[in-house]
Symmetry: C2
Subunit: 325 residues, 2 copies
């Protein structure tokens, strides 16, 4: 926190703290008991999800700036909205903060939220701020699903579909290992790839609109890679009652992961298979592969009691995912 100077939230008080957030992330919808969203097209459905980030567990001051924490908080929530095939429309921010938190940290957090939500024109429409012993950020994302097409659920995969993915695999986990290896962001050597992977871990971003592209293209099931590739694919397989086989070559660690693995003396497959938080979209489809997605495998009927997700028909080398308790 040492780079954040100036008065603390206790010194300026609640009203000034809220004012600083509203200045960084302005919205006319904010400021009453509750926020009213504009009327939607007939037959639209509203989509909602929530995620909590705790200092020391989901982010660390020696790794991430407040701005990056704001980016990540929005990314992980908007990824869940996009994974339904929907479009994010608004956010609510819950903050529990120790009184000694610098106001500038809070302002920068709101700036990261605002900048990340901006491509969707999704405003920060409300929130709550309380005193807490540990710094905690609770984001609720609201979204909209327009028209009668179904949402993209995890339980709609069927045999004979292609498994497809949009986005990076393993970069966030590699970034985290790099940060752990060197102990802090500042201690990472002047190596563009290591720096970039660490930055991606601290502030992953999404391509706006990729969820609605997938839904328009007739994708059957979808989720985002938040817990780990095998863990999240297992969620689709189990919910849908199908098996997924992944082509090993299609998910092989890229040059950036190879380089980081060489430096850290780690197995890059661990990052690809069990690393989450890239918030890539994982989907199955019986239709054409949507723009921006690539094929990584196929689905089949579940047979026997073996693993539901295989790689080149074999049990994956890493299967663990992230657990929050």
């Amino acid at each position: 926190m040492s780079r954040y100077t100036g008065p603390t939230v206790r010194e300026v008080g609640e009203a000034a703290t809220i004012q600083a957030i509203r200045r960084a992330a302005p919205s006319e919808l904010n400021g009453d008991d509750a926020a009213i969203l504009r009327p939607t097209a007939p037959n639209s459905r509203h989509v909602s999800c929530t995620d909590i980030l705790v200092l020391g567990r989901h982010f660390r001051p020696e790794y991430s700036t407040a701005y990056e924490v704001g980016v990540k908080a929005i990314t992980q929530n908007f990824a869940d909205i996009q994974a339904m095939g929907a479009r994010p429309t608004a956010t609510l921010l819950g903050l529990a903060i120790p009184g000694e938190t610098p106001l500038s940290w809070v302002s920068e957090l709101a700036e990261g939220i605002e900048a990340t939500a901006e491509p969707w024109a999704a405003e920060l429409v409300g929130g709550d701020i309380v005193q807490g012993k540990e710094l905690l950020i609770s984001i609720t994302a609201l979204g909209e699903l327009t028209g009668p097409a179904p949402a993209l659920r995890v339980n709609r995969a069927a045999p004979g579909q292609q498994v497809i993915v949009h986005g990076k695999l393993g970069h966030s986990a590699a970034g985290l290992d790099i940060l752990r290896h060197y102990g802090s962001r500042a201690a990472i050597p002047d190596d563009e790839i290591l720096q970039e992977l660490a930055a991606w871990h601290c502030a992953p971003t999404l391509v706006a609109g990729q969820g609605t592209v997938a839904r328009a293209a007739g994708v059957a099931s979808m989720t985002d890679n938040s817990d780990g590739l095998i863990s999240d694919l297992n969620h689709i397989a189990t919910s849908s009652g199908v098996s997924l086989d992944i082509d090993k070559e299609s998910i092989a660690p890229d040059e950036m992961l190879q380089h980081a693995a060489d430096v850290l003396q780690e197995d890059p497959w661990k990052w690809v298979l069990s690393g989450g938080e890239d918030h890539s979209l994982l989907a199955t489809t019986a239709a054409r592969i949507p723009t921006g997605f690539r094929r990584i495998g196929s689905t089949s009927s579940q047979t026997g009691s073996g693993p539901k997700v295989t790689i080149d028909r074999a049990t994956p080398a890493y299967t663990a995912g992230w657990s929050s308790l």
Copy 2:
């Protein structure tokens, strides 16, 4: 926490904890990346708000059961939805909990949430659970505003309106002082009024539908009594640029408050004027007084630099409200 026995959330793990919550507060809309709400009537608007409760600050195990914490968390959020003239439709639950929290505490919390949201048929549609050093509950409430009539904002009071209220004033603050005086719920003497006031502080409830009644009756501005009567009336006055004068007799402490004040040797006016958390609806109207509301004063043009909220034309004896930082 001693009345909560059985395994801890760390012992049963994340999946079983989520399962316990979903068993207590079931919803078919829960379980995917994000929750999809049913299509709404054309021209409907969605309403949202969020509130955080922290153990030791917003609730205490020696005062409240987990069930009551669930009741209170829903009440304070649904009060904000009702205060816009809207109807609550769904909730999201964010939980940060120490690993040693008994699973039975979490289940009972979810039961309180479910029971309180039930009159509105508002389901728990999603959430997030993380490990935290202190127990924290983050509730997001979603609601719906049907038809073209405006929402009931804080900034629409105008001179010549009646100030009206629905619900109790000062009971929650009296209950808190009773709890503080005796140190715990169990230590309160066998006195029906003291017991009832303490119970109201721990688990205030709402009359479902009172917000839409007020909107249908053409109320001009509305908020809920969450921070304190004078503080919340000041919010309407300042936002709308009017003065409010309250008839002292119409808000005089009732027999329950008088009794508690005698026992505790306190001034009951402190509870009425600066006590919040009753979540009563405070409104102004140029139309007929809606069913369930009562008149407590009137609005006029702002003149001079005196206080914007007066009681029988004089400065209130207590004006402070609750501040969260």
